[in-house]
């Protein structure tokens, strides 16, 4: 009984190791195949996201980070600076908000107004947003702050396009 168990365990190990090896081989092959057959897709998909900051630097308090992208704007191609307010929710989820006020485009600050310590505040016309970027009714903005697409790879936070979230409240 116990013998059989041993064998089956060894067998199991054997199988699973082969399995892992197989996966590893497949994992190495897959990108090569992709490169070979589809070299065009690769750079464009990767180029959309930019490394911004190490995930370990994120806190539950929003912090402002900046990075640069090349932007082609009509006649000119130029390097423009982008920025985002980034924080981590209690459940570990990352939130990256555009700092551009949805009213007329000023740059909002986190907790810069003493009366509203837990809100984003726009110094131009007193626009306010909750921590999650949703605009507060009866202030000039009529839409939430756009959210950046994000992903984490090897401990590094990458941000992509800022997506507007409609007309909100």
């Amino acid at each position: 009984m116990s013998d059989k168990k041993q064998v089956s365990r060894r067998q199991f190990l054997n199988y699973s190791l082969t399995g892992v090896g197989g996966f590893m081989a497949a994992g190495m092959l897959a990108p090569m195949v992709r490169f070979a057959i589809d070299p065009v897709l690769q750079p464009s998909a990767a180029g959309k996201f930019k490394a911004v900051v190490e995930e370990s630097e994120l806190t539950s308090e929003p912090q402002r980070f900046t990075w640069k992208i090349n932007q082609k704007d009509g006649w000119y191609e130029s390097e423009v600076e982008k920025s985002a307010w980034v924080y981590k929710k209690e459940n570990g989820e990352i939130v990256a908000l555009s700092p551009i006020c949805t009213h007329l485009g000023c740059t909002v600050d986190w907790a810069s107004n003493e009366e509203y310590p837990n809100q984003f505040y726009c110094p131009c016309h007193g626009g306010r947003y909750k921590k999650n970027g949703v605009n507060i009714p009866n202030t000039p903005p009529t839409a939430p702050l756009p959210l950046y697409e994000h992903k984490v790879e090897e401990g590094m936070l990458y941000l992509g396009q800022a997506k507007s979230r409609g007309s909100g409240v």
Binding site: C101, H103, L104, G105, C106, T107, C122, P123, C124, H125, P140
Partner: protein
Amino acid sequence: MRWNQEDISLYAESKEYIDTMIIPLIPFDVQKDELMKKQAFQKELLKLFASEVEKEYKGRILLAPEYHYISGRHKEEVDRVNHWIGQFTNLPFDHIFLFTLDMNWRKLSNDLQGEIVWLPGLQSGNLQSSEVQSFIKEQVSQIAEMIRSYW
């Protein structure tokens, strides 16, 4: 807001929110090469300052067309500058800031109908270098704070 079609259309619809104007004052003198070089550099620097401040407060500041003048005749320019300012205050604009690196306005600042903002001059340099960029960023946040104090 900038002086381009898109922003000016937005301005025309939202005038009540945009009450602050920045006019960059840009001198030039073609008599001496050295001076010309310095002024060309300072013009770039000044435009950068103005556009960074505008970016921060796009929704409340309008960046006017640049005011160019031949250096050395500041007294004669006062009327023309004030004429510009008069046009803008009629729109209306409550706060007019004149951005300049030209110290020759010093003695005339009382005659001008706008608020002169002296920007720290660099004689020359590379605007792409990271030292110059962080210097500019630092200055821009101070200028922004100063402007906010008027609101």
